[in-house]
């Protein structure tokens, strides 16, 4: 395999940023600076980074409540995300969203949506609008394998295929929906196969391998544009941490977690570089330093942020505030 060192280094930096960002979140959570539900993306970084590499600035992104990684990979500044997690007015959702509701209009990032499968119908409509207005854009929709059991998943896949809409569905199959293993919730556990049943071109990809994810997302987007039809990618992955901060992880073995950690996407990328024997190496120390400084700034920015005025509590319920 030929590996471009600049590309590898860029992927590595982005994945490292997400990894360290999430670790910082855990720490801030234990200090009670971040509250509410907090879902970490540790272990799954290669998916957001790989897919975002394939996404154009004009494309739209819809993600779930486990979306810090997607937000960062999309280019939303770490400080805007961190300020949101600390509930500050400088946060990307002005303190009204929190960890599960990151939004950024400028980067066409439509959430941060916390109803499992709730983002899929939105993707259908976004893509429908693009097609009606003859805009050459793709809507990228991320969701976990837990969403597959919901009716909205099936309604949306059917609509997307029926209307041949430009949507890239990215299923992040980490094996568990909270404590429910896939084999305990689905009669057919090959999710790509389910998508195929809707006449959608679908495949499975190693979600720990950023190059594989990026390649498959790039190919998918080209295919979506060429055939004007949706494409479905099932990324096989694993979350290394608990579902959220309220999870004793009673449902899985430590050994299983350790086994998956052998496939850590960051380590995998380093190994790929070594076996490629391109002669070039990652400057890990420099990347760690760079990432640490970005996160340090983000935390400082968030801590120094201001609190939204309570007088503005009702702001943004309606476009022009109405008398209730």
């Amino acid at each position: 395999m030929q590996i471009d060192i600049n590309q590898a280094s860029s992927y590595y930096r982005q994945m490292l940023l997400i990894r360290r960002f999430e670790e910082k979140c855990m720490e801030l959570y234990s200090h009670e600076l971040i509250r509410g539900f907090l879902h970490l993306y540790i272990g799954e970084e290669a998916i957001a980074v790989g897919v975002m590499d394939a996404a154009g600035a004009e494309d739209a992104v819809i993600a779930t409540y486990r979306e810090h990684g997607h937000a960062l990979a999309r280019g939303i500044p770490a400080k805007a995300v961190m300020a949101e997690l600390l509930g500050k007015a400088e946060g990307c959702s002005r303190g009204r969203g929190g960890s599960m509701h990151i939004f950024d209009a400028k980067r066409r990032f439509y959430g941060g949506l916390a109803i499992v499968a709730g983002g899929l119908p939105l993707a259908v409509g976004m893509a429908l609008a693009d097609r009606m207005m003859k805009r050459d854009r793709v809507t990228i929709c991320f969701f976990g394998e837990g969403a597959v059991a919901e009716g909205e998943f099936h309604e949306s896949l059917n609509l997307a295929a029926l209307w041949r809409l430009p949507i890239l569905f990215v299923c992040e199959n980490n094996g568990y929906a909270m404590g429910t293993a896939l084999e305990r919730s689905e009669s057919e556990q090959n999710i790509a196969k389910k998508a195929s049943a809707y006449n959608i071109s679908a495949s499975q990809v190693d979600g720990m391998d950023v190059f594989a994810v990026a390649a498959s997302a790039k190919e998918a987007i080209a295919q979506i544009k060429e055939n004007s039809a949706p494409v479905f990618i099932e990324c096989l992955t694993y979350r290394f941490r608990a579902h959220s901060m309220f999870d004793a992880e009673l449902y899985r073995d430590k050994a299983e977690v350790e086994k998956w950690k052998q496939k850590d996407p960051l380590t995998l990328l380093k190994n790929q570089l070594e076996t490629a024997a391109s002669g070039s190496q990652l400057d890990e120390d420099a990347l760690e330093k760079e990432v640490a400084s970005v996160i340090g700034e983000a935390v400082a920015f968030a801590k120094n942020g201001t609190l939204e005025e309570v007088a503005d509590l009702e702001k943004f319920v309606y476009s022009e505030e109405v008398q209730q």
């Binding site: 739209a60 946060g91 990307c92 959702s93 002005r94 303190g95 009204r96 969203g97 509701h101 939004f103 950024d104 209009a105 439509y110 959430g111 941060g112 949506l113 109803i115 709730g118 899929l120 119908p121 939105l122 993707a123 259908v124 409509g125 976004m126 893509a127 429908l128 609008a129 693009d130 009606m132 207005m133 809507t139 009716g151 909205e152 309604e155 949306s156 059917n158 609509l159 029926l162 702001k315 943004f316 319920v317 309606y318 476009s319 022009e320 109405v322 008398q323 209730q324």
Partner: protein, 327 residues
């Protein structure tokens, strides 16, 4: 340019004009195209605008309502038609969890200019799964606007107002009103969203109502008038926002209040109005407020039973008479 047309024709004319004037407007729902709409509202529109803009959807209320939200987020002005309010419950997630929250939880970055129309109400002997009036539920939700056109003029005006609104608007069309006839003046300046209108002036009692119950209330008012009781009849028009100002002004004038609401009593719009009058105009009242609502049953099929479950003119008259007897 005024004339007499049906409520159905008024809604259709409004959709038609909006689609002619704005390429971002489109209509989507179950059987809106080839079938012509389950209440025939969109009849003929497929031929005029084609299948790209009059979109027949599969039976996927949550899917196509959510698609309406997505299209609205992405620059369109969709009109989503849901056959009846009962079926809208399958889209409740998208309406309540997404459409209503998007603007707020994104800190003002994304708004959802979506119009959702649906039929509501009983009286057609359609039984317990097609007859309920659940607009009051939706009125509970911040982020939504809830309109209940009763007149032909409002059936027309409200669709235009809703399409101009930057936020999600739900329009509840009472199924028994589609054939009703009335005057439509297309040049008239529409009454804004959130404004009630006083259909009949009166000094003795305020009858506050909306939707089809407006006509029952007006009929009751004529009967009461013969007995020397002059009722003021208010059409709320919008259940969210509610027009407190018009309500309180009327209460301050008549000092007696009767609310007529086809929803069930418990946790209803009528309950909300009573609470607001209690908060804002309690000392204006000369008698306890009363209401005529639907009886708290899943709607029955048999005609006599269904009619007994609904608010009726005689019930309104009796309730008003009793209220007037209070000192």
């Amino acid at each position: 340019m005024s004339g007499t047309i049906t409520y159905r024709e008024a809604v259709r004319a409004a959709i038609q004009e909006a689609m002619q004037n704005d390429e971002r407007v489109f209509l989507m729902g179950e059987d809106v195209g080839r079938y012509g709409g389950s209440y025939a509202v969109s009849k003929g529109l497929l031929e005029q605008f084609g299948g790209e803009r009059i979109i027949d959807t599969p039976l996927s209320e949550s899917g196509f309502t959510g698609a309406g939200i997505g299209a609205a987020l992405n620059g369109m002005r969709p009109i989503v038609e849901i056959m009846t309010v009962n079926f809208s419950l399958l889209a409740l997630d998208q309406i309540v969890n997404t459409a209503a929250t998007m603007r707020y939880m994104s800190g003002g970055q994304f708004n959802v200019p979506l119009v959702i129309r649906m039929a509501t109400g009983g009286g057609n002997q359609l039984g317990s799964q097609h007859s309920h009036s659940m607009e009051g539920w939706y009125a509970h939700v911040p982020g939504l606007k809830i309109l209940t056109p009763a007149t032909v003029q409002d059936a027309y005006d409200m669709l235009h107002l809703a399409l101009k609104d930057p936020d999600p608007v739900l329009i509840f069309e009472h199924a028994l009103l589609y054939n009703s006839k009335g005057e439509l003046d297309k040049q008239a300046v529409p009454i804004a969203i959130g404004k009630a209108s006083v259909h009949r002036q009166g000094k003795d009692i305020s009858i506050i109502t909306y939707g089809i119950s407006l006509f029952k209330s007006l009929e009751a008012a004529e009967i009461l008038s013969k007995e020397g009781i002059e009722a003021e009849v208010i059409d709320l028009r919008s259940l969210r926002p509610l027009d407190d100002e018009t309500i309180m002004a009327s209460v301050s004038k008549t000092h007696r209040v009767l609310i007529v609401d086809e929803g069930w009593k418990s946790g209803s719009v009528s309950a909300e109005i009573m609470a607001r009058i209690n908060e804002q105009a309690f000392y204006e009242l000369d008698a306890p407020m009363q209401r005529v609502c639907s009886i708290e049953v899943p709607f029955p099929y048999a005609r006599h039973l269904e009619q007994a479950a609904l608010p009726q003119v005689d019930k309104i008259v009796t309730a008003a008479q009793k209220l007037m007897e209070e000192l």
